[in-house]
Symmetry: C2
Subunit: 283 residues, 2 copies
């Protein structure tokens, strides 16, 4: 495909993690749920952090389009958009890409967040995330502001360098972001991923997860779109392993103070300027 | 310490993952919650799978004693007993040992299981685990029987070689096991860990987690003691990584059929005979 026509490509995963049950004797239905791959760029060596702003802005539009299209299918209850980056989180295909799972259920962590926010709305009259944002937008755990977007290390961070990126406005899904918010989001994503790379001094692995409203046809006023980043490193030369406490009890142990890691990332983020197309190509 | 007097040693963790908040200005209370280390044997090179049966039987008694003692403290709501084994799950201290967290709360995964079982009791009149056991004790996912104990790969296994070990009898905690059950449990644990080592052909890393009744002074009739084993390997040369789907959505992807991995472990378990003290020392 010629470079100048390649933008962001989405295709069905040839090796989907889930799909219709194809064992003998099971009825086969056309797949409406399933797995998609989102290819960020034709340039094999780049990462999200190194993409030009215009491309990340386009990526935001692609995510919004896929959320809307997949979410409109009757069987799809949740459009789960994420990126796994780096061998440390098991990635074997190194070309820069993300994934979309069009799920026939609301996954447990999304459901737990939605339940907690629903209770908070009932008790306080506002979304849980809006309350957290009011606390974090100017506090010691803030990593960066980017106009309508805020990034911070959450109070109960599970990963030392966990960062959440939120629109300040109460928006339930990525499809609801306006034009200016999409541009700010693209900048914020570049600055967060750039801050990781600059802080650690290497292309930092992470899981990026998008949490937003389910697409089951119900209203989810307690949902508030956000991105969560989980880098596995707790130091440049040390990974955080999940073991008995995390895997068997569901409780995360983290020996860093979120205020400390936020301060480190804040310093690194100050020096990150989202690249124009030209400077990205030179990299 | 001379070998013949050393049995199983329990001490407070010098580097506890949690404990009283010791920052300046915080009130300091004596620690009643906290972290303990359980040293299985003075022999540095052994693993649980290689211990003599008598020692594992003693270990069961130690777990039961610690459950009772720690659980009797007013602030301890859950006695979480577990073992992390192997560098693949982040272990840096290689001497064979397990850990106990005396937690001031019921951890989320334990709570989720208890909630599901309570609903099942309400709907069906019996504990969820008892219903599962009735299904698994003679089915294609069974790994082994050991008198009063059964081990199987659960239907919705998160890890390809995940195994759960249950007493057939409805017992809410390890302290409630009778003498014969404790001996059967010791044998079952040796055979499960031995089956892993034999199947993979190397000393297999795992997380072992004990789920049982909280110790908050309430009744937990829906609890049913069991051990869960999560080995990170999905093949001898390949680990399962947790990434976006597991960490960001709470949904596990597993491309093996539990009936297949159960059959493999069943074959391996048939050849495992818990060792007498002598044969263990020779190993």
């Amino acid at each position: 495909m010629p470079l100048d026509t390649f933008e962001v490509v989405v295709f069905e995963n040839r090796f989907p993690a889930f799909g219709p049950d194809r064992r003998a004797g099971r009825p086969v239905r056309p797949a409406t749920t399933g797995c998609e791959v989102v290819v960020y760029t034709p340039e094999h060596e780049l990462t999200l952090a190194q993409l030009p702003l215009s491309r990340v802005r386009l990526l935001v539009d692609v995510w919004a389009d896929r959320y809307r299209e997949l979410g409109s299918r009757a069987e799809v209850k949740y459009v789960y958009i994420f990126e796994n980056k780096g061998e440390e989180v098991g990635v074997t295909l190194h070309h820069p890409h993300g994934q979309i799972y069009a799920l026939p259920f609301v996954p447990p962590f999304a459901q737990a967040e939605l339940d907690a926010s629903r209770e908070h709305v009932a008790a306080r009259g506002r979304c849980l995330h809006c309350s957290e944002l009011a606390l974090e937008a100017s506090g010691p755990r803030r990593v960066l502001d980017e106009g309508s977007m805020v990034a911070y290390v959450p109070r109960a961070a599970r990963w030392p360098y966990e960062v959440h990126v939120y629109p300040r406005r109460h928006v339930v899904s990525i499809a609801g972001l306006d034009d200016a918010e999409r541009s700010d989001l693209a900048k914020a994503l570049l600055r967060v991923t750039g801050a990781y790379d600059r802080h650690f001094g290497f292309s930092t692995p992470y899981v990026m997860a998008i949490h937003q409203a389910p697409t089951d046809g119900r209203e989810w006023p307690q949902a508030h779109l956000h991105f969560e980043f989980y880098p596995p490193h707790r130091r440049g030369d040390r990974l955080k392993y999940l073991a008995g406490v995390e895997l068997g009890a569901g409780t995360f142990v983290n020996d860093t103070m979120p205020e400390d890691t936020a301060a480190q990332l804040r310093r690194a983020a100050r020096k990150v300027v989202p690249a124009s197309r030209k400077s990205s190509i030179r990299m």
